[in-house]
């Protein structure tokens, strides 16, 4: 992948992220906060972006969204190496409970 391509893909990912976030926020604001894992203020900012601003914000060389599963436990539950299908379902449920319990980034 050339740098050109990489930057183009980052811009595209940013743009789809912002557009998805906006439609989530407009459909159901509170559930969007949970789905996106963002604070009320950030949701207001994203929700108020005009199309032109959205384009401008997405023209960045870095990604706008951040990885949320940044600890080993949740990660291993989700990927569940070498486990059967049954345990995998339990692992995903466990991960969902752990992730839902993290509201410090939203509050």
């Amino acid at each position: 992948m050339t740098t050109e391509q990489m930057l183009a893909e980052i811009r595209e990912a940013n743009l789809s992220y912002l557009m998805l976030a906006q439609s989530l926020i407009r459909t159901d604001r509170e559930q969007a906060l949970y789905r996106l894992g963002i604070s009320e203020e950030t949701a207001t900012m994203i929700g108020n972006l005009t199309p032109a601003q959205t384009m401008k914000v997405s023209q960045s060389s870095t990604l706008l969204c951040r990885f949320r599963m940044d600890d080993e436990l949740v990660w291993s539950l989700l990927t569940s190496h070498g486990k059967s299908a049954a345990n995998e379902s339990i692992g995903r449920l466990h991960a969902a409970i752990l992730l839902a319990g993290r509201h410090q980034e939203a509050a």
């Binding site: 559930q31 906060l33 949970y34 049954a86 466990h94 409970i97 939203a106």
Partner: protein
């Protein structure tokens, strides 16, 4: 009740009631969460659900939430509920509705039967408000799980980190299944795969 009731408030309450009926709430939930009269609620229920509401007492026991599978479902719901509670300023019943919808999505995404009914979810929130149930941090995975109050937090291990001996052996469709590990028979593995 006051005669000068706001029509807008009433419209919002009817809207809420309809959402709750769609989610399968019992009539007692609607009675407690709206100011609409019993007769009107009954009519609304029949109109929306197409049948009479189920009768009888609501499930009142806190013990149900302590059994293995219900506890996992209840903990998932309550974690989502707490998340919404912290993240957004909403009326109490709206938090329950929105959290319950997210809970349904999560279970559907994993092909699980939603064990927790909206009535039970609503009840759970009341139990927590009254201090009859609480959330305790698992000493192993640090997730929050529904427990009786005064659980000794230092030694508490959740049902997912340490499943009880018979947990996850039920064969009911949509139930949580847990694998016995290396010692299991091939027939059992097939049953799981077929499921």
């Amino acid at each position: 009740m006051a005669r000068n009731k706001s029509i807008l408030t009433e419209a919002r309450q009817i809207d809420r009631a309809v959402t709750l009926i769609h989610l399968g709430a019992r009539l007692q939930v609607l009675e407690s969460e709206t100011d609409i009269s019993y007769e009107r609620l009954l009519r609304l229920y029949k109109e929306v659900a197409g049948k009479s509401p189920s009768k009888g007492q609501l499930p009142f026991s806190t013990d149900w939430f302590m059994t293995w599978q219900p506890n996992i479902h209840a903990s998932l719901f309550l974690n989502i509920h707490e998340y919404l509670n912290k993240a957004a300023a909403l009326d109490e019943i709206d938090v329950v509705i929105k959290a319950y919808q997210l809970y349904l999505e999560q279970t559907a995404a994993q092909g699980l039967e939603p064990m927790l009914s909206v009535t039970r979810a609503w009840r759970l929130v009341k139990f927590v408000d009254n201090g009859m149930l609480t959330m305790t941090k698992c000493s192993c995975c640090h997730g929050l799980f529904v427990t009786h109050p005064h659980e000794i937090a230092k030694h508490y291990v959740c049902g997912l980190c340490n499943p009880p001996a018979r947990a996850g052996k039920g064969k009911a469709a949509g139930a949580l299944q847990l694998d016995a590990g290396p010692g299991r028979s091939p027939a059992r593995a097939e049953a799981i795969a077929a499921h």
